[in-house]
């Protein structure tokens, strides 16, 4: 268009398009006559089509930050988008990241650590808002080394002086089960394996609470426990077709991976459930073992408070009085059976587990690993003052003789 116009004032055809204060104008290059101006105001219709410009793009803010910070900020934003986090989380995570990157202990670390720092800031933000995000998820998203993540995370907590509340298991269960693909039948999930999400979540939460009461959760990684509990819940909701499905197959169907400790957790949970089952009168006759206890999980969970009290002795003293409680649902011979330790086994039912009440303790105390316990200082050791005389012969035993040295240097010659 500028090629066809002629300046009305001087007649030259040198018309250029110029942006004067960001307003486009057609100007004659010879005399400066302004042919057309852009609009200073926009109409309502025009404004509808305008796009919001974010602060970071409209000002020169980006030029003030270093490239490393800019990259980190972008990574934080990307991570928040991938995890579908609310906008508030992004702002908090950004502020943590900017504080952290200024800190001397993070300013000059390797690129790998800076990447992990991004993950840590997002992780801390989520935990502070009680958003159940696990370290495993972040590490897999960032392809980060777990040990390195752990050390950077602890460093961040210390340097920025942040408090992080404990991970809530209930929320974790809900989030973890969200990723399971069992809730509608598909090519890989036959109809009888599909399950209603609400029921499964509710039952899994109950089983996880049971595990937490019986010391199976403290000190352990939460995800294997949630996976094992989900498996038991899923099986118990429709035992008929599902008892034959193995744990590994269940995880493959659900689309999660099977963490190695989950088998142990499953075994421990089954052990607890069996002990509880031995206290229910109508289950004693049924000869429940670890394969069939799944069918009765519903009943066991319903009466779990009473069953826990009666299956496990509390700490030091035998809680005889607890057996008297809850007589409503169970018959009296069973209460008598509880208190009689010697004939713990019902004469009729062949219990696979021992009915002797064991104390409710964490598994590490029930099966203690035999460890060499270093003895306390012997009296002769205690009499050391630190200033005794040191004999020459004792020191000489640590020095090489001439022949040894020659042989050693010969052996080292190829170094």
């Amino acid at each position: 268009m500028s090629g066809q116009r002629k300046c009305p004032d001087c007649g030259s055809s040198e018309i250029v398009e110029d942006a004067h204060y960001a307003q486009n104008q057609l100007v004659c290059a010879d005399c400066g006559f302004i042919l057309t101006e852009g609009l200073l105001t926009t109409t309502f219709q025009d404004e509808e089509h305008l796009q919001e410009v974010t602060y970071s793009r409209s000002t020169g803010q980006n030029e003030q930050l270093s490239r490393c910070k800019l990259r980190g900020i972008k990574r934080v934003q990307d991570l928040c988008k991938v995890l579908y986090l609310p906008a508030v989380f992004e702002d908090t995570a950004l502020s943590y990241f900017q504080r952290a990157i200024e800190h001397p202990s993070f300013h000059l670390v390797s690129l790998e650590k800076k990447e992990i720092l991004v993950g840590c800031c997002v992780f801390v933000t989520c935990r502070q808002h009680n958003w159940p995000l696990t370290m495993g998820t972040i590490c897999s998203l960032l392809y980060a080394d777990k040990e390195l993540f752990a050390s950077v995370y602890l460093c961040v907590l210390k340097e920025l002086e942040l408090d992080v509340p404990a991970l809530s298991l209930t929320d974790l269960v809900k989030t973890h089960l969200n990723s399971f693909k069992l809730f509608q039948s598909s090519a890989s999930v036959p109809a009888k394996f599909a399950e209603d999400k609400e029921k499964m979540v509710a039952r899994t939460i109950q089983i996880v609470e049971l595990a937490s009461e019986t010391w199976l959760v403290t000190g352990r990684h939460p995800i294997p426990i949630v996976t094992a509990a989900a498996y038991l819940a899923w099986q118990s909701l429709q035992p008929v077709g599902r008892l034959t499905c193995t744990f590994a197959r269940f995880c493959k169907m659900a689309g999660t991976d099977l963490p190695p400790p989950a088998h142990l957790r499953l075994k421990e949970l089954n052990d607890i459930l069996l002990r509880m089952a031995s206290q229910l009168a109508w289950l004693r006759v049924l000869n429940v073992d670890k394969k069939t206890v799944v069918k009765h999980i519903g009943d066991l969970l319903q009466h779990r408070h009473f069953l826990l009290r009666s299956s496990f002795s509390s700490g030091d003293t035998e809680d005889q009085s607890a057996t008297a409680v809850g007589d409503g649902s169970v018959s009296s011979p069973q209460a008598a059976g509880c208190s009689a330790q010697a004939e713990g086994c019902h004469p009729g039912g062949k219990q696979k587990c021992s009915s002797v009440r064991r104390p409710l303790l964490p598994p590490c105390l029930i099966n203690p690993r035999k460890r060499l316990r270093t003895a306390a200082l012997s009296p002769s050791d205690q009499a050391i003052t630190g200033d005794e005389a040191i004999s020459d012969s004792e020191i000489e035993q640590y020095l090489r003789s001439q022949e040894e040295m020659q042989e050693f240097s010969k052996a080292q010659a190829w170094h």
Partner: protein
């Protein structure tokens, strides 16, 4: 021992009621309960032993006088039996431990006894049981026995065992590490991996890192004296190899202790109530990391009840830290 039983009974009664009315109970019991005087005198070593914890509570001594909510008297009969048996120290480990306590705390001990803090305990005419007055027992009011008992009731009776001591010393001369690695049997040197010689001796069983600047780090000893002896032996070895090694600035940098409270602990509960000090991430580490402010010690607390204490420069810091954490842990004992 009949004497001891009289002593124990009022103490046991204390433990049942954790309010000031217990003092009235005692006063009504009458003086005949306190005719056996020896427990008070021979009780002093216990007092000395406990004054470590007591010192840290001196500012809260008013609370101590009436608050027995964390009384644990499991160790009491043993101590009293031994104390009643002899006045002098016997050669068993328990006594020797208390000897160590006492040797470190004598100044605190005397300070405690002569301090006006005693009057804060609101026992008006508290007599001061001292070893010198073993024969002459001043007439006691029923209030007095409380004075020796309060330190006893606060202690846990468990002594953390030292597992590792790290110390540094300056040999004050430049060393040729290749030379040392060649001449010494117990040395290993791999400059590509680490820039120091790693030397080990059998007695005391320790390991040392010897740097070319002449500085040395000695680890693995189980007591301060052992660490010092071991460091001296390493310096002697370096001397025998021909270097003019000295033994300057020996300093204990870190002490690690461990013990067992013998009951399982609900770590999730502990992290909720003591959030500002604890960090419990089961995904990272099975134990709870508790950073105590005073004394500045880091404790690793596990669900089995085992506790590891580290970061101390003095033995007393470890004992004090454990005495501080024990009542907190007891609070989580029966929670289910």
């Amino acid at each position: 021992m009949q004497d001891v039983s009289y002593w124990i009974r009022p103490v046991v009664r204390f433990s049942q009621y954790c309010l000031s009315p217990t003092i009235d109970d005692l006063s009504s019991a009458g003086p005949q309960l306190y005719t056996p005087m020896s427990p008070f005198d021979t009780d002093l070593p216990i007092q000395a032993a406990q004054s470590a914890s007591f010192d840290s509570h001196l500012d809260q001594s008013k609370e101590l006088s009436t608050d027995f909510s964390s009384v644990d008297l499991s160790f009491l009969p043993d101590d009293l039996n031994q104390e009643n048996g002899e006045q002098t120290h016997s050669e068993d480990g328990h006594e020797v431990q208390r000897e160590q306590y006492r040797s470190q705390l004598t100044e605190q001990d005397s300070g405690f006894l002569n301090d006006s803090n005693l009057s804060q305990l609101s026992y008006g005419d508290a007599t001061q049981p001292s070893p010198e007055t073993s024969g002459a027992c001043p007439p006691l009011t029923p209030m007095t026995p409380i004075t020796p008992m309060t330190p006893v009731s606060e202690s846990s009776g468990i002594v953390p065992q030292l597992q590792n001591i790290v110390s540094t010393v300056n040999l004050a001369c430049k060393l040729d590490l290749k030379n040392i690695a060649l001449h010494a049997r117990n040395a290993e040197y791999n400059p590509k991996r680490f820039a120091a010689v790693i030397m080990r001796i059998r007695e005391p069983r320790t390991t040392a890192l010897i740097f070319s600047s002449g500085k040395m780090v000695c680890t693995g000893a189980k007591s301060e004296e052992q660490s010092r002896l071991a460091a001296r032996k390493y310096a002697r070895v370096v001397q025998k190899l021909g270097f003019p090694a000295k033994f300057l600035d020996f300093k204990i940098q870190n002490m690690v202790g461990s013990c067992d409270v013998r009951f399982p602990i609900r770590l999730e509960g502990l992290v909720l109530t003591h959030q500002q000090f604890s960090s419990y991430e089961p995904e990272l580490f099975p134990g709870l990391i508790y950073r105590m402010v005073k004394p500045r010690i880091v404790l690793l607390i596990f669900v089995s009840g085992k506790v590891v204490l580290t970061g101390a420069k003095e033995r007393s810091e470890i004992y004090e830290a454990f005495e501080n954490i024990y009542p907190i842990l007891k609070g989580f004992k029966k929670a289910s």
